[in-house]
Amino acid sequence: MIGSLSHHSGRSALALGAFYLLLATPIARDWLEASMSRHMLVQMPLLVVIGIIAARLVPVRVQDSLLIRFGGAWPCVIAAMFASSYWMLPRALDAALTDPWAEVAKFITLPFLVGFPLVLAWRRLTLIGRGFVWTNFFSMLAVLGWLYIVAPVRVCNSYLVNDQENAGWYMVIASVLLFFWWLGTLLVGGGVGPDKPDQGGSGGTFA
């Protein structure tokens, strides 16, 4: 049983790694980064998702010991908030296109400082803690989207100004849709989002 389970997760890890490498290929990068909307709303979320899936492939026991090593849920959540908001800066977007080191930093930090630590922290977060993370994310997305729509100047030198406006609208729409989806889970499913609390059955709270 355990053997087949690890075999299965081994295959998933391999597929995940392959997908990660695929995103890093020049062709995929050129296409995904050619428009501001694809860059911010497809490539960057996919990188975060890679981190999320990677963390879920880690056995729950190891996740817990990693979480303890990192000092519990809060440092993980804070790191994720800093890293995700950094990549929302227009300057960081431009840098990812013009400076190879910034691009490398983006590919490393979005999975491993946003997706991965969020999963580690998630099971330990209370309903209010999760609500804080979600609403913080929605409002950041909506405010930034609105800024992009009304900005009188082009904020990214690498993107057309109407691309910036489109990205702004997509961000506002995404934040509204996500908010209602989250509200729905709050009313029906307990506000936990995609994941049930303590799904590993390991109960209790740290810190």
């Binding site: 000092g71 800093f82 300057r91 013009t98 990214c156 030198n157 100004v161």
Partner: protein, 204 residues
Amino acid sequence: MSLAKRSVLISALVISLGTWVFWWGTDGFTAFTAETARRVEILRSPRALPDVTLEDQNGKNFHLKDYQGKLLAVDFIFTRCTTLCRSMGMIFKQIRDLIPEESLGRDFALLSISFDPEHDDPANLKKYGEAYGADGNIWRIARVQDKAELQSLLDAFGIIVIPDQFGGFEHNTALHLVGRDGRLRLISDIDKAVPFAEQVVALL
């Protein structure tokens, strides 16, 4: 150490590190866009420019280095542009008219550089120049024909040109001042023509 204590300690560490990264990445919370960053950096350390070969509206070849010893105002254009570059022409004309006449050409010159050399041959450059009274001496309209040289010049200035969906270009537009030492020393907004001219006059 208890986990709660560790949690607080590591959180504080993450917050300080995160704040430092933001501080470092935005030049002390001043430059949130690449355009502002470019301007801040130039002010802090004026940047050397490659000595490219240009061709002006009279078909005359010259080098960027030929301007050393003079203050030089530079802008980037393409003559098919129907929006910003039109106002750029007016703005450069305004700047020229704000500089004392005896300094024009002797201590101060203007240069509009086209990044669309395929279309902007001397004839088109001349047409653009005549629309704003660029005389080809005090104010030259020029193109860089060599692709690699043009790119190195755009890189040094921090200009990013991207094609738009109408067959034209979008690019970051600004007023640039090159010092007597041939280094780029000031970048300002195009609606700051008067302060820009005042800066030039102060340096004359």
